[in-house]
Amino acid sequence: MTMAPVRILVVDDEQHVRQSLAAWFREDGYEVNVAAGGREALATLARDGADILLVDIKMPGMDGLELLRKARELAPDATVIIMTAYASVETAVQALKDGAYDYVVKPFDPDAVSGLVRKAAERYALLKENRALRERLESAAPALITAGQGRMREVQELVERVAPTDTSVVITGESGTGKELVARLLHAHSSRRFGPFAVVNCGALAEGLLEAELFGHERGAFTGAVARHRGKVELAHEGTLFLDEIGDVPAKVQVSLLRVLQEKTLMRVGGNTSITVDFRLVTATHRDLEAEVSSGRFREDFFFRINVFHIHVPALRERSEDVPLLAEHFLSQFARQMNRRIDGFTSDAIAALCAYPWPGNVRELQNAIERAVVMCRANRIEASLFPFAHAPAPEDLSIDAMEAAHIRKVLASCGFNVTQAAGLLAIDRVTLYNKMKKYGIERP
């Protein structure tokens, strides 16, 4: 692959200087443009762009400093090198304060300017690579998969509003609803998105281990601490710390976390050095934290500190309109991973997916689709590939839930044609609309 040559723009009112430098840099393989003054330079910059600008500081009309400021608006990533005489070194220092990369004093040694431009070209290459990596990172950012209606739309709006702030967020919702995805979204849309996203599942660790995982430990802090370990709070510096199952955190650790949140410093277990940390806290739980506070199992002060903003992720059964879309998403994901060609679902399969109450939420749906992709021998996924399609209805389903599931199934089977579905259900359209409203059934 051939790299595009670095583009240099030489700006000097002396024609001789422009010609010499242009000849000199072209010998190094750079693409060189020249301009006799500020205005011409800005026009050239707007027309052809430039990666490195060599600007004479003293020019009639627009001087180098003014050109530097205007050029930075047109080409913020361009590297500006100021050329100056001994008499105007102070002005060159001002140029550095205004964002110039460096300056060279005229007349300059060829090796000095050649080395400086080479370094500027390397800086440009790094900036370009950095930008490309950031774009890749942004394009790989997670996204909520929703039909864009109802309660998930509210979640999406809340995420968009709170993500750019540094506010602490508590995410609630049943297991498998996608609380971590919402946390990742908050991180991906914040100013900390290029910083780390550190995750701790607080429900999975015993108290001592959780402390070490959160705050780190020094070598020899306890039996088995054979080396220094940096905790997740420290690793989340300049990024986001996501504490899943915060409702399961023991009271002692709640106190330690509260202190870190208030003082923005921590001490590793067994250590005596204070470490400054700057992170945004996002927590999640399937528990009702207010009830936990009332019952005394969760500290009130800690609750108020973390619960500045609250986002509730609805269960999948409360947003059944998203089921077909999520199913398609997982199908395409697993088919790609397993290198299978599967075109979609049969209408029976979609009806079965929509009728099922998904107690395990999106995670259960994801697992069901993965299993179906493994088992599928045809070009479409059939209802028989879902284990729940054969299972008898759970005994604890109420009449309402049974009715809602049946209506969903019938609607899905006839492509959400309400007139047709009403005919199949032997009820009139108005009644069907009322029941759809009652059960929160929306057209996908």
Binding site: E14, H16, V17, S20, A23, D109, P110
Partner: protein, 173 residues
């Protein structure tokens, strides 16, 4: 490609002839001539140097299939560069080289000076034919800033530069 050496002003006996005789393939020695240094227009008394761009402008136009390479004892500058060993405008088939800074640490060894001057003439002629600097350390087209660094190069083109010259990817003027 034929090379015409133009000696500007005085030169040690045999130096230019030795350079001409040492030119590597695909360069071919064509002729050597002596001219006056264009001091009136190109010499800066304050700096004690010749303006390289001005010298290039005052060189005779190269004939078809020919490159003109001027050599001079006077140090060259190309403002704002304080000095240059030589200069050429890419693809212009005109170049100039000074041996003023190449005599450093030669111990008055004429063979070493001839080798350095030949290397830099080959370098500038390469630019005149459209070659840019080469990353191969011992290629004549490798950039060097000190006389001793010139000794690390060969007075010839590497395979890559030869291919560039042969494939007409570089300008023939």
């Amino acid at each position: 490609m034929k090379v015409r050496i133009v000696v500007l002003g005085a030169a040690p006996p045999g130096l230019a002839a030795a350079v001409l005789a040492s030119l590597p393939s695909p360069l071919v020695a064509a002729a050597m001539e002596r001219r006056k240094t264009p001091e009136a227009t190109c010499y800066s008394r304050r700096r004690g140097q010749l303006d390289a761009l001005c010298v290039l402008d005052n060189l005779p136009a190269p004939a078809e299939g020919e490159v003109v390479a001027a050599v001079t004892a006077i140090d060259l500058f190309a403002p704002p560069l304080a000095y240059v060993f030589g200069l050429s405008v890419l693809g212009s088939r005109r170049s100039v080289v000074s041996w003023s800074r190449l005599v450093v640490a030669t111990g008055e060894d004429p063979a070493l000076l001839t080798r350095r001057l030949t290397t830099e003439v080959v370098h500038e002629v390469g630019h005149g034919l459209g070659l840019i600097h080469c990353p191969v350390p011992d290629c004549a087209m490798h950039r060097s800033f000190w006389a001793e660094a010139v000794d690390l190069k060969k007075p010839s083109y590497c395979v890559l530069c030869q291919q560039s010259l042969a494939s007409h990817r570089v300008s023939q003027g």
